[in-house]
């Protein structure tokens, strides 16, 4: 008896959102998407009941821009649990430990969906408990603790309840959008958060949560002589008394990432196809360069974030040995956790501009950059491969899909094995190159800085998700046009 039979009664009963029984008109889809988005923004503004406001540090830190949600709010966890759950699923699937055939077997599909949900809910608990009960991430309100039954522990339980409900809500909001709306909830929450920060990074007059103020007001104040304007300040950006100011370098990097991603979206290897029976019906199967690789990037980043979270947690519980990590203001400044911390901004490494004192020393900085690069490039490639395998985009699954649609590669026998051989020449290579390239881009963007302090990964994700959303909307509208065109031509 396999694990499937044991787990089936539980996994098949996971509550899910109803699927529309007929075609949902495009306008309705947009309405659902907008509705859920409004709800999401509302929830990011509702602070937890029982929280001591203003105290506590954000456990997600700079990762907040990709993990969405809001510090200290009901949706404190953001899409973190979904991402962590997905990592576990990817690793299990990539190592082929699941034994689920999600392409052909409906029962396995149901089990996969159930397992996915169960993992996310487990992760909501696993990340929520230490957030609330350990460390100084979500401190309980002092005044409420004195009157509330159970004291501080009772208040913590209450906060955990809210964080839990928020985490589960995010999961179901994602499902509502996936089934009734356009795109996916996860993608939408990421672009919502990053876009908000980008706009804020351009026009915010008051400092944003990350401490940055907008480029445009900052430059106006520099021109008026209100803030010190020197050539390095203007180019690299600087820490002014009223907030962090992005330089011209950040603007250039942001635009460059936009251009590179949109260009790379169109880079593809096209495999010619022709229909086996219908002569003249031809098509192409595109193997896109970064088709599969931007989303796995978030998994690599989340892995780094979880490592840092463990570090912060250990640090808050006891003082760590120097080689493991020394912390100042909640940030690692030396030791293992320092080297494992990804480069988040220009100030983390540009010692020749900001850090002439030599602390941390140059070799330490270089080692950290090297570790981050290796982690992101190798991790990007590995997770891209796992991603392609578990989402049925690998050579074998693709060959079967092409075969099922009755297409073949002209000049080859119509046989899934032959198709697979040809696809094997392209898909794994393109996936690895794409994954490594995206990793390199993400680190590069972080090193040079971006507008509003959105991370390189956040920017990459936003541009490519938006592009994909645009493609999906175009396709959707084509489908809407169809019945009308049929009417026009009788």
């Amino acid at each position: 008896m396999s694990w499937k039979d044991t787990a089936e009664p539980l996994l098949t009963r996971m509550p899910s959102v109803e699927r529309p029984d007929r075609h949902v008109p495009f306008k309705r889809k947009l309405a659902w998407t907008a509705g859920v988005l409004v709800l999401y923004f509302f929830l990011t503004n509702v602070f937890l009941f029982g929280l001591e406001r203003g105290a506590g540090s954000d456990a997600f830190g700079r990762f907040r821009s990709i993990l969405a949600g809001g510090q200290g709010t009901i949706v404190h966890l953001g899409i973190g649990p979904i991402v962590t759950g997905s990592i576990v699923l990817q690793l299990l699937g990539g190592a082929n430990l699941l034994g689920l055939d999600t392409q052909n077997n409906p029962r396995d599909q149901v089990l996969y969906q159930g397992l996915q949900k169960l993992l996310v809910i487990t992760m909501v608990i696993l990340t929520g408990v230490p957030m609330v009960f350990a460390g100084n991430f979500l401190p309980a309100s002092e005044s409420l603790s004195q009157t509330f039954p159970g004291g501080a522990f009772g208040v913590n339980m209450l906060m955990f309840g809210q964080v839990f409900v928020g985490g589960v809500l995010i999961l179901y909001m994602d499902e509502v959008i996936s089934k009734w709306g356009v795109g996916s909830g996860v993608g939408l929450f990421i672009i919502a958060g990053v876009s908000q920060r980008l706009i804020g990074g351009l026009i915010a007059i008051e400092p944003l949560p990350g401490g940055t103020i907008g480029v445009i007001p900052a430059y106006i104040r520099m021109a008026l002589g209100d803030l010190p304007a020197s050539a390095p300040n203007l180019f690299f950006g600087f820490q002014s008394p009223s907030g962090q100011i992005s330089g011209i370098l950040a603007i250039i990097t942001t635009i460059l990432i936009f251009v590179i991603v949109v260009y790379a979206e169109s880079v593809r290897v096209e495999i010619p196809l022709s229909h086996a029976r219908v002569k003249g019906a031809r098509g192409r199967f595109p193997v896109k360069l970064i088709y599969a690789s931007v989303l796995p990037m978030i998994l690599v980043r989340a892995l780094q974030q979880n490592i840092q979270f463990i570090g912060q947690l250990l640090n808050s519980q006891s003082s760590l040995p120097a080689w493991v990590g020394q912390y100042s203001d909640g940030q690692p400044i030396s030791g293992l956790f320092y080297y494992l911390a990804p480069i988040q901004s220009r100030r983390d490494w540009m010692w020749f501009v900001d850090n002439p004192m030599g602390n941390p020393e140059v070799w330490q900085i270089l080692l950290r950059v090297a570790v981050d690069l290796t982690f992101m490039v190798a991790g990007g490639a590995i997770f891209a491969i796992f991603w392609v395998e578990t989402t049925d985009m690998g050579p074998e699954a693709t060959a079967q899909q092409i075969q099922n649609s009755g297409m073949q590669i002209p000049g080859f026998r119509q046989n899934p094995g032959v198709l697979e051989k040809v696809l094997e020449r392209y898909i794994p290579q393109v996936t690895v190159i794409g994954g490594a390239l995206v990793g390199l881009l993400a680190v590069g963007a972080n090193m040079l800085g971006t507008i509003g302090g959105v991370s390189g990964t956040g920017l990459l994700l936003t541009v490519s998700i938006t592009y994909k959303l645009y493609e999906e909307i175009a396709e959707e509208q084509l489908m809407e046009m169809h019945p009308m065109m049929r009417q026009m031509f009788g």
């Binding site: 098949t12 009963r13 509550p15 899910s16 959102v17 109803e18 699927r19 509705g35 859920v36 709800l39 509302f42 929830l43 509702v46 009941f49 009901i74 899409i79 979904i82 991402v83 997905s86 999600t102 392409q103 052909n104 409906p106 029962r107 599909q109 149901v110 996969y112 969906q113 996310v120 809210q162 809500l169 999961l171 909001m173 994602d174 499902e175 509502v176 959008i177 996936s178 089934k179 795109g183 996916s184 996860v186 993608g187 196809l273 098509g283 192409r284 199967f285 595109p286 931007v294 989303l295 978030i298 049925d392 699954a397 899909q401 649609s405 297409m407 998700i465 994909k468 959303l469 999906e472």
Partner: protein, 51 residues
Amino acid sequence: MSSSDSGGLMSSAGLVRYFDAEDRNAITMDPRSVVAFGAMFGVLVLVLNAL
């Protein structure tokens, strides 16, 4: 082009995958109730905070 369509529904950029297959035992919810619950829960916490 039809060749890239698979049987299951693949949402764009979805970390969570949903398929067409549903189990008879599964508990299903109306999407409206998800949104309504979320909104009500938010309002409840807001009211508690304001008290």
